[in-house]
C-alpha cells in the first residue's frame, strides 16, 4: 500500500563521497525518495527522537545505517534504536562495505532488518538502492505508512 508520497529515508553515513554516490544512485534509479543524511550515530539518534536541531524533522520510514562511523559505531546505534520502544519499529537496513560474518551476525542479533554489503561499482549500487526502495516502499508495508493511510 503506497501513499504516493516519497519514502523518507535516513542515511547515516559519514563519508561525503559515499553520500553523494548514494544520492546519484537513487537519482539513476529514479526512486521516489526523500533523503535525509546525518554523519554520525549521535546525530542519527537525535534526529530519530526529534531532539536538538532536528526538532522539526519528520520521522523517517527507513534507516540506512553504515557500520564504520566516527564515534559510536553503527552496531551501537542499531542496538540503541532497537532497544528504544519508540524507535524500534523503524526498519533499519545495514549498508556497509563489510562482508565480515561477525558483522552480519551481530547486526541480526541486534534486530537489524537486513544486512547489505555495498556493491563494488556504481551499477551495483544503483541496482541495490533501487531494490531497497522498491521492496520497502512497494512490496512491504512500512509501519509508518499505516498511520498515513
Amino acid at each position: 500500500m503506497t501513499t504516493g508520497l516519497p519514502m523518507r529515508l535516513l542515511l547515516v553515513e559519514d563519508n561525503e563521497g559515499d553520500v553523494r554516490l548514494i544520492e546519484e544512485a537513487l537519482k539513476d534509479a529514479r526512486a521516489a525518495v526523500t533523503l535525509m543524511t546525518v554523519g554520525d550515530g549521535e546525530a542519527a539518534l537525535a534526529l530519530l527522537r526529534g531532539q536538538g536541531p532536528h526538532e522539526r524533522a519528520p520521522r523517517p520510514d527507513l534507516v540506512l545505517l553504515d557500520i564504520n562511523l566516527p564515534g559510536r559505531s553503527g552496531l551501537d546505534v542499531l542496538l540503541e534504536i532497537k532497544q528504544d520502544p519508540a524507535l524500534r519499529d523503524i526498519p533499519v537496513v545495514m549498508l556497509t562495505t563489510s562482508r565480515e560474518a561477525r558483522d552480519v551476525r551481530q547486526s541480526y542479533d541486534r534486530h537489524a532488518n537486513s544486512f547489505i554489503s555495498k556493491p563494488d561499482d556504481l551499477e551495483g549500487l544503483v541496482r541495490v538502492v533501487s531494490m531497497v526502495q522498491g521492496y520497502w516502499d512497494g512490496v512491504a508495508t512500512l509501519p509508518t505508512r499505516i498511520s498515513h493511510a
Binding site: G17, L21, E24, D28, T97, S98, K118, D120, D121, L122
Partner: protein, 595 residues
Amino acid sequence: MRLWAKLTAALLPLVVVCASAAWAFSYRTAAGALRAQARQRVESMSIQGSGPVFTAALERRDRAALLSRLEVMTAAGAAHAQALTPDGTVLADTRGGASGRVADAALAQALRGGPTVLREAGGDLLEATRAARRGGKTVGALRLTLSEAPALEAARAAALRLMALISAVAAAFVAVLVPLLMRLLRPLAELRRAVEDLTPDSPAQAVPVRGRDEIGRLAEAFNKMSARLAETSVSREFLESVLEAAPEPMIVADIEGRIVFVNGKVSELLGYEPGELRGQAVEVLVPDASRVRHAGLRAGYLRDPKARPMGAGLDLKARRKDGSEVPVEISLSPARTRQGVRVIAAVRDVTEQRRTREALRQSVIALQRSNEALEQFAFIASHDLQEPLRKVSSYCQLLERRYADRLDQDGKDFIRYAVDGAARMRALITDLLTYSRLGRQETPWEAVDLGGVCRRALDALQPAIHEASARVEVGFLPTVRGRETALAQALQNLVGNALKFRSERPLEVSIDALARDGEWLVSVRDNGIGIEPKHRERVFDVFERLHPQARYPGTGIGLAIVKRVVEQHGGRVWVEDTPGGGSTFRFTLPVKEDA
C-alpha cells in the same frame, strides 16, 4: 689357641706322666730285682761263710780265725760280718770290738734251725743270719749285713736312663710333630685368611689346593664357592668406579632414602665435599618447597620400583648446599642387592636446555604475535583499501554515465583504463583478503568429504568449464579432516587454474586420490600448457605470475592460496608434468584416523 699349641699342650703332660710312670715302674722293677739279687747273694754268702771252716773255728771259739773268715766276707762285698755264739755273744765282728751280745728274733729264728733269716736292718742294710751246725748241733750263727744302696742306686740310674730316653723320644716326637702339624695347618691358615677377606662385595682369590686330603678338599670347595660368588656378584669397588666414571651425577640411596653413594659429579654440581652426603637423607637435595611431597613420592616409588624418569612432565630442581637451585632431569632405577633395594638416580643438569627451551618458547610466542599482527594488518589493509577503491571505480563510472556525450574518445579511453585499473586492484585486494583470511581461520576442523567438496567447486566453475569445453573427470576422493570452505577453495583454484592455462587441444581435467605412505595423495591433472621445471616452485608464491595479464588474466594468488590451505591441513603441494603434456598438481593430506 692354635691347634698345634693345643696339641702340644695336650701331649706334654702325657709325656710327663708317661715318663714318670716309666721311671717309677722301672725303678721298682730294677730295685726289686736288685734286692732279690742282694738277698740271694747275702744268702749264698751266708751259706758259704757258715761252712765247715767257719763252724770249726766257731766251735773252737777261735776268734782270730773267725775274724779272718769274716774279713773274707767283707772283702766279697758284705758291709760287715759277725760271728755269734748260740746265746748271742759276739765272738768276732769286722767292725771291731768283739764284745756284747745279740738277742733278737732273727737270731732266735735262725738258731731254731732252717735256712738263712733275712731282715731289713734299716739304713739300706740287709741283714742275713744263719745258724752254723756241726753234726746236728748248732754251734753258733753267722750274721752278715749287706748294703742295698748300690743296688738301689743302680736301679735309680737305670730308671733315670729310661726316663731320659722317653723324654728324648718325646722331645724328638714334638720336634717332628709340631712343624709337621704347622705344615699341615698352613692351608687352613690360608683358607682362614681367604675367608676373612671374603665380603659379599668382593669374592676372594682362589686358595692353593695342596693334596687331596680333607683340607685340600675344603680348599677346593672354597674355591668353587668363591668362583660362584664372583659370577653372581660384582664388587662394590667395581660398581662405585663405574658410577664414578659416569659423565653425569649419580646418587644411590637405600630404601630409607639415605644416601649410600654419590659420585664426584654430584659434589661438583651441588657444591658438597666428597663423602659429605653419604648417610644423609636424599631430601637434602630437594628444594624446600617440594621436600615433603618428595618423601611421599619416594614411598610411592618404592611400592612399584622400576626404571623411569622422575617427575615426568615437571620442571625438577635440585638444591645446592648453599640453598640455590639447579634445574635437573632425573631418571630412577631400582637395584636389588643383598643389603636391600637401592635406588640409583642419574641426574642431569638441564640449565642450558631449559634456558634454550625458554628462549625458543619466547621466539615462538614473538613469531606467533608477529604473524598474527601481519595477518591482522593484511586483513585490515585489504579491507580498508576496498573502500577508496570502490569510490574511484564508482565515480569513474559516474563520469562515464553522465559525461559520455561531452567526452572525446581519449577521455572515454582514460576513464576505461581507470575503471580497469580499479577493477584489477579490487581483484588483487579480494584475493589478498581471501589469503589473509586463511590465516585467521577459527572454524573447527570436521570430517570433510572431498568428493562433495569437489562437486561444489565444479558447480561454481560450471560457466568456465562450459566456456573452455573441458571434460572433467572425478575419480575416488576420500573423506579427510579439515575446513570445508578452505579445501573447496583449494580444489576450485586448482581446477580453475587448469581451465585458464589450457592449450590448443581439447582440455581434459581429472581429479582423483589414492592412499600412499600413510597419507592421501590428491592429483589434479590437465593437458594444458604445462609449467617449465624452473618455475615449479615459484608458481606457489603470492602474486607470482608467469604469463602476461592480457593472455591469462588473474592475480597470481590462486596457487598461493592452495599451498596455504594444504599446509594448514598438514600436507605438501607440488607440480609435475602430465605425461603427454600438461601439469599435474599433487597435494597430500593426512589420513583421517577414524575414517
